[in-house]
Each structure stands twice: as structure tokens, then as C-alpha cells.
């Protein structure tokens, strides 16, 4: 099994995967508690349009996807605050429109091929060295920004009004969180694919939330579950020749199931 790590591609996947897992695990807690669990799903579909556009224009699909996801997340945030759209209406609209646009572009450019499928279903084991650097740097920035703003984000998520009264710039933090979500979703897309990326953000956090009695516990558990799922998922995928994305998501679901049952049993 140590032989695994002798493969360059496995090292790359492993390293990138861990960084992205940390970002997802941290962010997921905030998103769930803000009742924004579905935003990852919506943005992933917009990112799909970005990937299709990137393949169409022959520019780095990950970068185009990132751009589109950032723009979409910003519009979704504004719609939620200003236009008075109910709950996740904006997300529902954006995810379908994004996907429709993606299908259209992919067909036009005749890029319904391996490339596109690798984004749909995730292909971390085939990650390019250039994408490794891109992903690790971005994931690191996401993690750093969350850690640096940890208290403010927690306060705002728990009690927005008091946070605001204590001088926290809540609107600015909303913007930050939205931006980080877009970045994380695009990164997660590389690991488990567009169709499963919201699982990577939501399931480890949901698992951690089952048993946490403090915010710190929730954050730590979520991140650990996220890392473990990615690491074990990659190993299993390689050893048993399974798809990595499916293994990772099912492992995190397993963790969720165990903690869910544990909480129930504890009463």
C-alpha cells in the first residue's frame, strides 16, 4: 500500500484532495447553519456551464467555471437580500439555468466527451500538475480566510443582529462567505465532480453537527470527517478500482449514518 504514494499522480490527488477537503469541511458548517446547504448544488451547476464554456473557448475550464460561479453566487446573494425571492428560489433557478446553458454549449462545441465527463463525475486521480497548484493555493486561501474570521463568522451565523450591533461588518462577511463558497465548490468539483460536489460540502458538516455540543467541536469533526472520507476514498478507489468520487461521498455518508445512529442511541 505504501507503493501507492510512489505514484506521482496519486501524490498529487492526495495532496490536492486533503486541502480541498479541509476547505469543504470548514465551509460546510457555516453554510448549513445559515440554511444555505443547497447553494453548493446550485453553484456547481453554474460551474458546469463555465466548464462547457471553457472547453468551447479552449481556455482553462476550471478558471472559467470559477469566474461564472463567483458571479452567480454574488447575484444569488443579492437576489436573496434585495429582491425578496423566497428562500432557495434563486438557487433553484440558477442551478437549472446553469445546467441548461452547459448542455447547450457542450453540444455546440461538440465537447460531450471525456473532458466534460471528468468534470461531471470528478477525476481527481487524473488531476493535472497545473491544476494542483491552482487548487492548493485557492484551498489554502479559503481555509486561511475562514480561520482568520472564525469568531466573526460564528457570531454572525449564530446571532446576526447582535453581531452587527457589536460592530461586525456582516454585509462584508456575507460577501466573503459567498465568494469562498463559489471557490470551494469549483475546487470540490475537481475532486468529486459537479454532480456530487454539494455532498462534499454538506455531508461531513451534517455528520459533525449530529454530535457537536460546541462550535469548535462541530468545525473540527466536520473537517476530520471530510479529510478521512477523501483519503480513504482515494485509497479504496485506487486499490479496488472504484470511482473516487462515489467512494468519497459514500464514505462521508457512512460517517453521517454512524453519528446519526449514535446520537439517536444516546437519546
Amino acid at each position: 500500500m505504501e507503493a501507492l504514494f510512489l505514484y506521482g499522480f496519486f501524490q498529487r490527488a492526495f495532496l490536492t484532495g486533503i486541502f480541498i477537503a479541509i476547505a469543504c469541511g470548514l465551509l460546510g458548517i457555516f453554510l448549513i447553519l445559515r440554511r444555505d446547504a443547497m447553494i453548493g448544488h446550485g453553484l456547481a451547476h453554474v460551474a458546469f456551464a463555465g466548464v462547457a464554456l471553457g472547453l468551447f473557448l479552449n481556455v482553462m475550464p476550471l478558471a472559467v467555471a470559477l469566474f461564472m460561479a463567483v458571479v452567480a453566487s454574488w447575484i444569488i446573494m443579492k437576489l436573496k437580500v434585495k429582491a425578496g425571492l423566497h428562500g432557495d428560489t434563486a438557487i433553484a433557478i440558477f442551478s437549472s439555468v446553469g445546467f441548461a446553458l452547459g448542455i447547450l454549449l457542450a453540444t455546440l462545441s461538440q465537447s460531450f466527451n471525456v473532458d466534460l465527463f471528468s468534470y461531471l463525475f470528478g477525476e481527481i486521480l487524473a488531476i493535472e500538475p497545473s491544476e494542483v497548484v491552482f487548487s492548493i493555493v485557492l484551498a489554502f486561501v479559503v481555509v486561511l480566510l475562514i480561520v482568520v474570521n472564525y469568531h466573526k463568522l460564528m457570531y454572525m451565523t449564530f446571532d446576526r443582529e447582535s453581531a452587527k450591533a457589536s460592530g461586525i461588518k456582516v454585509d462584508r462577511l456575507d460577501g466573503l462567505l459567498t465568494l469562498l463558497t463559489a471557490v470551494t465548490v469549483v475546487l470540490g468539483m475537481k475532486v468529486v465532480g459537479i454532480l456530487l460536489v454539494s455532498a462534499l460540502v454538506v455531508i461531513p458538516a451534517a455528520a459533525g453537527l449530529q454530535v457537536a455540543s460546541s462550535f469548535k467541536q462541530a468545525i473540527v469533526l466536520s473537517t476530520c470527517i471530510s479529510i478521512t472520507s477523501v483519503v480513504l476514498g482515494l485509497v479504496l478507489a485506487f486499490l479496488l478500482d472504484l470511482p473516487a468520487s462515489g467512494s468519497i461521498v459514500l464514505l462521508s455518508f457512512l460517517a453521517f449514518g454512524i453519528l446519526f445512529v449514535f446520537r439517536r442511541a444516546r437519546g
Binding site: H151, Y155, F158, A163
Partner: protein, 254 residues
């Protein structure tokens, strides 16, 4: 004790404030000062605009007309929000499943300006002291959702105290808190006001509390019906009307 606090420094100035949630004014032409070391009660019937006024002072709502100045600065310019402790009206807006411990909630009061998650020892002792002041140290590691409503309210009071504020703004802070803890709490506010010179702005319906502790009264009912010292208030028509309207009559007359 009531009428001496006249030569104090002006802390907050409310000038001709009007506010509307979109259908007619809920506050109209409200002006009064809050001086350093005041112990001010804002009273008035339900829906009279007390909470709205407090939120305007805190910069959470923007007045339609008029302005509020805190220590000489407009709400937009004022930056030293950490000197103001705020206990919102009831903790019902709190998600009972939120994974946050009592200690973490109290810590929010002092950490809003901090960068990295680690707490200093000094901060830890501030938190412990605040927890002690409201008598909830024993619950400090419990999840907030597992506490009773009254216990939760005490946590929010501790959060407001943790930062050693210069001004405490309390919106019906003891709703759902038992009588013994209430007395304890108001004695503590009294002490903070007298000994540490902390300015107290308190929204309350309890006449007993007002009589026992409060030095200034602002009576709201869309407009400012009365503002002045508590002694004069007791002689005013407003007070008689309030009593006639059947406000809580647990008076401790001195």
C-alpha cells in the same frame, strides 16, 4: 439618588428621530439625551417603539428622519461598538439546534475584534467572571439550546457584560428569569452603575424595578411622552395613567 445626575457628560443624543417600517411612523419626533452614568428606563406599552428606538441607537435600523449621536459621532462614524453591550429582547430568534456552548456564546462578546481563534488567559478570566456574575458557570460547557429560556437569557446578559462595556443596552433582559435571579441581576446592574460608572439603558415593563433602581425614565408611545428623573415621573400624569392601565404593580416604594 434620583435627581443628582445632572452634571454628567452627554453620551448619546437622540435628535428628532422618526422611523417607519413602511406603513406610517412607529416613532415620531423623539429627542432626548442619555448622559454618562444614567440609569435610564425606557417604558411604554407593547408596540410603542421601544425596541425600534434601541435598534436605531445601535445602528441596526436607520431612522427615516433625525439622527443619533454617540459620544459626539453619528452612528455611521462611531466605531467603538465594543464599548456597548447589548442584550436583545428574548432569545427566541436563536436556533435551538445551533452547536455552540455557553462559553462560546459569552466569548462572542469579547472576540469580535480578534483574529485567530485562540483565547488569551485574560479573556478566559473575563468570560469566567461574566459567567459567575449571572450565576451560570456550571453550564458553561452545555450547548445553549439545552438550557431553559431563563438560563439562555442569562447567557446573553453575560455576553453583554464580558467586554466590560461603558454602556449596557438591555431590552427586557429578565423576561422569563425567576424572581430571585431578577433581583440579583438588578442589584448587579445597580452596582455596575454606581461603582463602575456604567451607563444603563433598560427597556422594561416592571414598575417594581423602575422604582427600586432607575434614576431616569423615558416614556414612549410613538412619540416621547415623558422624559426626566424618576421622582418627577412618579408625580406625573403619565405614571398615574400607567398604573391605571394595570402595569405590573410589584412596587417597592422607597
Amino acid at each position: 439618588m434620583d435627581s443628582v445626575a445632572t452634571e454628567q457628560e452627554l453620551l448619546i443624543e437622540i435628535r428628532k428621530v422618526a422611523y417607519s417600517y413602511g406603513y406610517g411612523d412607529v416613532l415620531k419626533d423623539v429627542s432626548f439625551p442619555i448622559n454618562q452614568e444614567d440609569f435610564l428606563a425606557i417604558i411604554g406599552p407593547n408596540g410603542s417603539g421601544k425596541t425600534t428606538l434601541l435598534k436605531i441607537i445601535l445602528g441596526l435600523l436607520k431612522p427615516r428622519l433625525g439622527e443619533v449621536k454617540i459620544m459626539g459621532k453619528t452612528v455611521e462614524e462611531f466605531a467603538d461598538w465594543k464599548t456597548i453591550g447589548y442584550v436583545p429582547q428574548k432569545a427566541t430568534h436563536i436556533d435551538s439546534l445551533f452547536p455552540v456552548s455557553v462559553k462560546e456564546v459569552v466569548a462572542m462578546g469579547i472576540q469580535s475584534s480578534r483574529r485567530f481563534p485562540r483565547r488569551t488567559r485574560e479573556e478566559d478570566s473575563c468570560i469566567s467572571r461574566a459567567l459567575q456574575q449571572v450565576g451560570i458557570e456550571e453550564y458553561k460547557n452545555r450547548r445553549i439550546g439545552n438550557l431553559s429560556a431563563g438560563q439562555q437569557q442569562r447567557v446573553f446578559i453575560a455576553r453583554a457584560l464580558a467586554n466590560h462595556p461603558k454602556i449596557l443596552m438591555l431590552d427586557e433582559p429578565t423576561t422569563g428569569v425567576d424572581v430571585k435571579t431578577q433581583e440579583h441581576f438588578y442589584d448587579m446592574l445597580h452596582r455596575l452603575n454606581r461603582e463602575e460608572g456604567i451607563t444603563i439603558v433598560l427597556i422594561t415593563h416592571e414598575v417594581g424595578i423602575i422604582n427600586k433602581h432607575v434614576a431616569q425614565v423615558a416614556c414612549l408611545n410613538q412619540t416621547l411622552v415623558y422624559h426626566g428623573s424618576h421622582d418627577e415621573f412618579c408625580r406625573s400624569d403619565e405614571f398615574k395613567r400607567m398604573l391605571a392601565d394595570g402595569h405590573h404593580l410589584v412596587s417597592h416604594h422607597h
